[in-house]
Assembly symmetry: C2
Homo-oligomer: 80 residues x 2
């Protein structure tokens, strides 16, 4: 698993928890729905500025999102 | 101040604290010295995968680096 793949999963989790569509999250963060979809599938590695915009739209701190990625990568390393 | 600009300053701080040249940090993280220089000057916004590689080379967690960026952005917002 790469950081961007895990980030995509976490992004999707947070988006769904908040009841947002990909389109709505895109609108709130200034990106097109198709880019949100690419991120969620781990096909794109978001830039730092993008991470900050997405986190703001999801009402979470960027560092909390990254911490979740680290934890997930740590877990998958252990379990695989 | 943008997140990438602040990230660049923090990257430089950490690199110097560890006594690494831009060339050495580049070597450890798999990037060219010129890319490290662009990052430090905030001319490039690092991708998530790049943040993870740099943090590993600097022996710090990616979330700790991002937290420092948040803190710095918070401070500059207050003081400006």
């Amino acid at each position: 698993m790469t950081p961007s793949k895990v980030f995509g999963q976490i992004l999707k989790e947070f988006r769904i928890e908040r009841g947002l569509s990909q389109e709505r999250l895109g609108f709130e963060s200034g990106y097109h729905r198709t880019y949100i979809s690419l991120l969620e599938r781990g096909r794109k590695s978001p830039s730092l500025n993008t991470i900050f915009k997405l986190a703001e739209a999801l009402n979470i701190t960027p560092s909390a999102m990254i911490l979740r990625v680290e934890e997930e990568l740590g877990t998958s390393k252990k379990s695989n």
